[in-house]
Subunit: 413 residues, 2 copies
DNA sequence: AAGACTTTTTTCGAGCCTCGAAAAAATAGT
DNA sequence: ACTATTTTTTCGAGGCTCGAAAAAAGTCTT
């Protein structure tokens, strides 16, 4: 049962609304905030005064907002970059990277290193991560301590974003990263699926295109998906969900890395395309060592002539297209962004994808099916993590009357 | 952007909360409502006094609440059955039925008739419906006028629940039932998918089992689905969505009623089972005239010996099972209720369903997969419509300070 | 049977919050 | 310098929820 609304919740929610409006708009005036939130000018005035006093927002210098209009000039409100910091970390195949981000979303520091994720021991994996984050946060104590960590992983997390349940990059399972990092660093942590973070980032990058309903599909060694429906990130009931790569394309079909058969990934993952292009059986054990260079070369050959390579891409497109079509039967069509190295070969996939979608329930609204490609996934994932962490701070910490950094504003005391 | 919370929204939302608590609990005391909503006793006292004055709630007679405890006895609050009425209508193959329901959910009047939905003209279909609802509402004027109509149809509606976009029971498309009924009867109307209403009803019938996440699957001539995720009815971005029957089971597979190939329905719909059992080609035109008696007989023969009939049910179960498995890859497992005549043959389907699910991503959590069967769908659909209509009245009308029936309480004037 | 005890419900004043209207502030045009 | 215009702040009114205390309505005990 939904909880009742207390009187003090009201202020909290409206504070959150004002912060969100500033984060979204960049440098909005109070009047602009009033109109986007629907709250009265007086309320916005009161709330923004509080937020400025607390060091969460800051007023822009006069003239920063091009006006040239008559009347009292608007004063833009911005996020105070020094109000807080957050940490983002991305754990992917053979690579671990992390960064400190300030409250305005700017990069403060970063670090990354290669890591043999497939063979490293469980303890070493954990301690490498802990060590990197300790280095990043060293010297940040007291009010300078980061307020949130978001760790993105390839694979499945639990619905509460606390445990990595399974990942293709390591044999180790059920690693409670959130608990570990909270204990070691004392900073609240969320563990998120990388594709979900991609979807979050798309929404911030291009809100016009990626608004209420859209899909991000990661094409790489495996196939991942992040799905936003009615403005909310779609997650499973127990896990991060959205395992599009393991929707069944052909029952009893090709052997998948997950051990099952006929998954979309078993036709469209890098290893599957490679396997098909090299004339190996669909039932042969998935090859782990397919490198990005191999795929680039494969794509070149597929473009050069209509041989087994092109056929392999066709099969991949067919699997993806039928999968999308089935998804559209459930959720109706929505724009799709293909992300990752595989998106660089999208020209080879697209005809087969479109042909397959046309054979499905999604085909009837083919006008609404827009594709977009973004070959480089890491920046997207990072940005998604950063926004995830920052909106957490916005809504869960700064929306209460939290004294952001009292020392910065000692003059008001 | 989410709208700001006004001060007067607060009362409205808390009124809605109190009404919802009473509808859910049956005869709760004020103290009980306070604890389920988290609001204070004083607030509940004030709100319920208002609601009683407005004739929306009523106090139970003393002693109706078994207490036997010490202390001042609790006074149960109930919905005032006379506070309002709503209309539910269900349009299904060859049958149209409608009923008037009072505010407490009790049946006031009902009517149903057979109708050759497959051949009737568009205008006749509309006027039959309008006529029936006019008869039901005749004499109910002024404050006795029903406050809401919910019409359930087999097929696809738009996301705003105003238009029947497509239905298997009639060749006519895009009938704006909501607009038509609102104009003819002057009562706000919603057009809903029948399976979605089944899901709504399950939640009211057995909240322990069907709580936050579950699936209702209708097995009849076609295959429908109603899905509740995180406590919300799942709908598509443009339509009622959840067209589980048209998820692709086998690309380029059996011919479906929808004209496409390989849909789950083309294996598991009545016509598909019938077609397979009679040794017809999977690509032969779907038979429209398969009657429930035919299916009953088919099931008998399938139970009697392991012939083509049993094989047909196996194929159906295989399609459903793979479909469920793929769905579980996206949303994680959830309890499933199989509804409709096809559920009466669930014993024939279940082994193949379970075997197929085990081959998919859903298989890993096989412990969480609970099946339930409900052969009679019409009462479920009706109940879902009724609850849908009543909660609309609760939240959209009675949550504002709406004078429910001033005449009933003239004494307070 | 009267008083003690217990639990539910109502009453009442305090404290917030939002809102609208009016005032103040700050600039461009004339 | 003065007017027009637009933004922002101020101020009082009205509502809402809350906690504490009081009132109500029984059961239990002696």
């Amino acid at each position: 049962m939904t909880a009742g609304i207390r009187h003090d919740d009201l202020r909290r929610r409206n504070r959150g609304l004002v912060i969100a409006a500033v984060r979204r708009a960049g440098l909005p005036s109070r009047t602009e905030i009033a109109s986007t939130t629907g709250l009265s000018h007086s309320t916005i005035s009161a709330i923004s005064a509080d937020l400025i006093n607390e060091g969460i927002l800051a007023e822009a210098k006069a003239g920063e907002l091009a006006s040239a209009r008559r009347g009292r000039p608007q004063v833009g409100l911005s996020l105070n970059a020094d109000a807080a910091t957050v940490i983002v970390a991305v754990l992917s195949l053979n690579e671990l990277s992390a960064a400190t981000i300030n409250y305005a979303g700017g990069l403060v520091a970063e670090e990354s290193r290669t890591l043999a994720t497939a063979t490293i021991s469980r303890d070493d994996l954990i301690s490498e991560l802990v060590a990197m984050l300790c280095r990043l946060t060293s010297g940040m104590e007291g009010s300078a301590r980061p307020l949130r960590i978001v760790l993105a992983i390839q694979g499945i997390t639990d619905a509460d974003a606390r445990v990595m349940l399974w990942s293709p990059i390591t044999p180790h399972r059920d690693i409670p990263f959130a608990e570990i990092l909270e204990r070691k660093l004392g900073i609240p942590t969320a563990v998120e699926n990388d594709c979900n973070m991609m979807a979050v980032a798309l929404r911030w990058r291009d809100p016009a295109r990626y608004r209420a309903d859209f899909i991000a599909i990661l094409l790489s060694h495996g196939i991942g998906m992040g799905l936003v429906l009615k403005g909310n990130l779609f997650t499973g009931t127990r896990s991060s969900g959205g395992e599009f790569g393991h929707v069944i394309h052909r029952p009893e079909g090709a052997l998948c890395r997950c051990g099952r058969r006929g998954c979309i990934e078993a036709y469209a993952g890098d290893y599957a395309i490679w396997r098909n292009a090299h004339g190996k059986s669909e039932f042969s054990t998935p090859e782990d060592g397919v490198r990005p260079e191999d795929m680039k070369e494969l794509a070149e050959r597929a473009r050069a002539s209509d041989g087994p390579e092109r056929e392999a891409y066709r099969k991949a497109g067919n699997a993806i297209g039928y999968g999308i079509g089935s998804l559209f039967a459930l959720i109706d069509p929505a724009p799709i962004a293909f992300v990752g190295a595989g998106a660089a070969a999208f020209d080879l996939l697209e005809p087969a994808i479109r042909a397959a979608v046309a054979e499905t329930a999604g085909g009837q609204h083919s006008d609404a099916i827009a594709f977009d490609t973004i070959p480089d996934e890491l920046p997207l994932i990072r940005q998604g993590c950063a926004m995830r962490a920052l909106t957490y701070v916005d809504q869960e910490i700064f929306s209460d009357g939290y004294p952001a950094s009292p020392l910065l504003h000692a003059d008001i005391a």
